[in-house]
Symmetry: C2
Amino acid sequence: MKKRLKALVFDAYGTLFDVHTVIATCEQVFPGQGATLSRAWRAKQLEYTWLRSLMGRYEDFWQVTEAALVFAARNLGLRCDAAARQRLMEAYLHLEPFPEVKPALEELSDYTLAILSNGSPRMLKAAVESAGLARTFKHVISVDEVKIFKPSPRVYELAPRKTDVPAHDIGFVSSNFWDVAGAKSFGFWTCWVNRGQAPEEELGFVADLTVSTLHGLAEALTRKSEKAGQERAG
Amino acid sequence: MKKRLKALVFDAYGTLFDVHTVIATCEQVFPGQGATLSRAWRAKQLEYTWLRSLMGRYEDFWQVTEAALVFAARNLGLRCDAAARQRLMEAYLHLEPFPEVKPALEELSDYTLAILSNGSPRMLKAAVESAGLARTFKHVISVDEVKIFKPSPRVYELAPRKTDVPAHDIGFVSSNFWDVAGAKSFGFWTCWVNRGQAPEEELGFVADLTVSTLHGLAEALTRKSEKAGQERAG
């Protein structure tokens, strides 16, 4: 039995923050095309983070996200002028947490809690404040410090460095399977928050725990902690 | 005016080799789902090359392509057993060149011609032979030598090293815009073969020349060469 974790490090977008606001804004700006645009935008956003990282041409997540929007709209034949672009981009600054996030994190308050995200420092600050989570996290860590995106091991290495907790005592939590794979490859214990019942990816790594919401994580870690306590006592 | 290029280095799949055979095989194995599966498969194949490269977990293109097929089929709810998988994978070994490839390359025979591809050495050998192009290329270069995929600069660096032609005398030709961006970022003159009239990606780099088939490249380089000759003479 693995010993108790000391820190929990969370991905931000899709894991803590519901990007529904972004989808809804897409629908307001382009009625009938909101779902298609937001899906294409998100896919291109990730693709550009990977490509720029591999090319060694980092730009921050705000810039990459805007470039992805420009391409996605153009590719769909949608006219996305400066005003529409600004409105869509600003949706990223006003996100709600998923409904279970606050109560689940309260149950986990014995752990050092941190965020490790692709988001730029400004985007993360706005999202954390907008979601009312500013006091919950001891560390809000952006990839901007190492100028490369997930799943580079240089990103995950920020977590032990910033929290001062060794990698083998860190649990990493993400709704993105590829992010879990990257974190597992680096050496963290991992939890996949599979909100959409997606199949596992074929990347050679699987999560140590799979849950459908953060409540599942809180429950599992409480059980785990009790069991470890019993084993230590026994 | 840039002086005459000495070597032309081509991407393989989609640039020289028509992956139509792969799409047709998908349709034979899963009638009515061929286009959907082959699109999802190709997208996942690229995604896995980027993710594994960033994670520092290279596996060769054959393995990545098969993993992508397994995921794509599962995600679409298609039952892809070992026999179906083998049949679909083998389609990659028997590809046709696009119809203009041979005559266009003949017009370019004054240049040192090479392939630089994500494909594994075995896949590239089979595709080049199957397409009747074995004598056309002086060098067939696989990323396998550096154990990372495009668009890492370590891949593009293979071209000057293997051809013994300096990077600034190399023209790189690809149907993938992101591959062109990676090659341009590295320092090559670039040509985008935009067969499908796709919009330009927003990656901070554009091609030096955009054509719809390789004939356009041959024409442009002939004109360019004549013009450079005149300028040298003048």
